[in-house]
Amino acid sequence: MFDISALDLARMQFAFTVSFHIIFPAFSIGLASFLAVLEGLWLLKKDDTYMQVFNYWKVIFAVGFGMGVVSGIVMAYQFGTNWSVFSDKAGPVIGPLMGYEVMSAFFLEAGFLGVMLFGQKRVGPRLHFFATLMVAAGTLFSAFWILSVNSWMQTPTGHTINAAGQFVPDVWFNVIFNPSFPYRFVHMVLAAYLTTAFVVGAVGAFHLLKDKTNKNARLMFSMAMWMAAIVTPIQMVAGDQQGLNTLEHQPAKIAAIEGHYNNVTGAPLVLFGIPDNETGELLYSIEIPRLGSLILTHTWDGELQGLNAFPKEDWPNTFLIFWSFRIMVGMGVIMLIVGLWSLMRRFQERLYDDPWLARAAVAVGPAGFVAVLCGWITTEAGRQPWTIYGLLRTAESASPLNGVEVGGTLLAFIVVYFTLFGTGVYYMLKLMAKPPLIGTEDQTTSFKRASGMTGAPSTLDRLDN
């Protein structure tokens, strides 16, 4: 414990706070779009089912979004507290992108969130729908800019380096649309959509298991399973494309993911193994011959570089990303199976009648979160030992750190995040466990009020008088 360096503690702090944070936006990006679609369909079809489902998820969205905001503010300042050298050097390039994120996304979300959550009775339905659309657009803009920043750190282009050692933007287009950005952006937005779809599907299935005639639960389940069946295969293609892009720009990362230490032609796909950086060997491996080369080079006997082709001080933590990658892909395969299963049942017109499908959907509810976390671990830990790939080492990026401060605040973050966000997740699950009630819109609203604020209406009535 006591021989952990301040640098390691700072890395742990960043990993911890960013991992917790990503859970909330991954959910709210998808949910905001889902809400916009629901409200749009309601305006179009005038079917109250959509509005009831909208109101049901709106409350859950509010709880998750709040946690995303406050855990996000931490990220905006942590670059400076723990990674000041990185901030000084990379600020001129990544700072303006983040500035655009704040101005085009965060303000948009925050400005219209109030209207979306509390303004239903104060503005007309079309204006309210506009507010929902703006919140959804804000989440996507935010993903655009922050993915651009992250991708630039992975595949930096469009900059020069000045006398003070700062990265200076040269061609902004090349900075923003750096080589890995389009792949990452698509992969992440699809991941967010799938994460939300599987949560919505799980909640729909959970309530269908109790009452399969519940119209609201049916709508949730049906919409979610369409997403699962259609978007999961698309996501797999997007992931494959990102893999090819990574092979081109960060071959050491791919070598670690694949568990290859030596260069191989006609490389196998390793299903299982324990990579050991010390000995430079992959232990206990189970392999499918040639499939690795087929996936990554699209030829039967393409050559893949192994880690030994790179200096050892440039290797990432192979064990970690070898496994995080496999867990992510495993989640994807499970999602695909559920998606295809639902498609089969839908064509048999038994979508709501298969309790095992519903149970499976409940079980895979959290799969998207696991996949998102593991995917980010793969790409971020795989970028190590660099903060800006090939140009600035993590060890050279840190502030003049003090172990007591970093360790103490890390402990504080851990305690506060688990207590507060843990409770928040519990409240979200509690809301999801409530059946989506069927009734007129007014009944739905009064149900919500009764469940939330008791005693208050009388107080406020008194104030009104």
Partner: protein, 336 residues
């Protein structure tokens, strides 16, 4: 025409921080006042509802301040944040405690709700106090060597920074209480008015103490305020402050709803201008100037193009969302 981009950006960042202090200031103030309103009164719901639709937008200015500083004054960002490590993280944790309470409070069972009231109040107080400490530490100056923070780990903790911490807490209560005077009626408004009166007197007293202490921290501040061409400000600023104080107290006494809120903001604005006069042309006292801290022109220019275009739009829909929730706080707007 050649633009002085760093100077323009210093003005924009100053505006963002002012917007943050003015806007989040009153909703933090409402949080700090929470424990003084008895739980049984039922008024806490109205207090929280009065800021629930807008707090999130208010806090976004803080992200713009931080993100903007990283973008256009990366060196200032890189020395100030390590120097203020502990108070910055305390502020962030405080903002978490209060931010989650807005939703959690309505999700908790009757018996547990009190914990979220406490979380809301504690978080607001901690965030406000930590911001005040940061302000004081910044005024005292931050030691820089070789593009890096070179001072001690506890430089931020001094009697002066504690004084500014307390001052900001009291000042935010003034903003929060005048907000409630504007947004509420009846018993709650009477309570708010009383708070505004007390915190108004205390705020002015603390402004006096801080103003007297500041010129003695640093010869440069003394020079700035008591000698040379700036002497005129040393007369105008206190004069305008007196007018704002007059409007505040008269407004409270004559039961004006709106005037005290704007008078309180006038007081904040003047203090802010005062600090600006002390700092200029430095970004981080005592040594780092606006131009030395600035990012290369290419960065400043790229972000400026968007800022000129986006900030007016942001202001427009921010005003719109305040307008949607205009008038006295009531139940009909909430979904809880």
């Amino acid at each position: 025409m050649e633009f002085d981009l760093p100077l323009i950006w210093a003005a924009i960042i100053a505006f963002a921080i002012l917007a943050y202090v003015s806007l989040d200031g009153f909703d933090l103030g409402v949080g700090i006042m929470f424990p003084f309103m008895p739980e049984k009164s039922g008024h806490r719901d109205a207090m929280m509802n009065s800021v629930a639709p807008i707090w999130d937008g208010n806090e976004t200015w803080l992200v713009l301040g931080g993100g903007g500083l990283l973008a256009v004054f990366p060196l200032a960002y890189a020395v100030v944040l390590p120097a203020l490590y502990v108070p910055i993280i305390a502020m962030l944790l405080g903002l978490i405690f209060r931010g989650v309470a807005f939703e959690f409070r309505w999700r908790a069972s009757e018996e547990r709700r009190i914990w979220w009231d406490r979380s809301f109040a504690f978080g607001s107080l901690l965030a406000a106090f930590a911001q005040g400490i940061c302000l004081g530490a910044l005024i005292q100056g931050i030691e820089v060597a070789d593009r890096s923070y070179a001072g001690g780990r506890l430089d931020w903790l001094t009697p002066f920074s504690i004084l500014t911490g307390i001052s900001l807490v009291v000042g935010y209560v003034l903003l929060g209480s005048t907000w409630l005077v504007m947004k509420t009626e009846g018993e709650l408004q009477t309570f708010a008015r009383k708070f505004a009166m007390i915190s108004g007197i205390l705020t002015l007293a603390l402004i006096g103490v801080v103003s007297l202490a500041t010129p003695f921290l640093d010869a440069e501040y003394h020079h700035r305020w008591f000698e040379g061409g700036n002497l005129i400000f040393s007369i105008i600023v206190p004069f305008l402050l007196t007018i704002c104080a007059g409007v505040l107290f008269l407004g409270l006494k004559r039961h004006h709803d709106i005037r005290p809120f704007f008078a309180a903001h006038g007081i904040f604005l003047l203090c802010y201008i005062g600090i600006g006069i002390s700092f200029y042309p430095r970004m981080v006292p005592p040594d780092l100037t606006i131009w030395a801290a600035a990012a290369p022109d290419k960065s400043l220019h790229f972000l400026l193009v968007g800022t000129v275009f986006l900030v007016p739009i942001i202001l427009a829909y921010t005003i719109y969302s305040y307008w949607v929730f205009r008038g006295k706080v009531d139940e009909s707007g909430g979904y809880h």
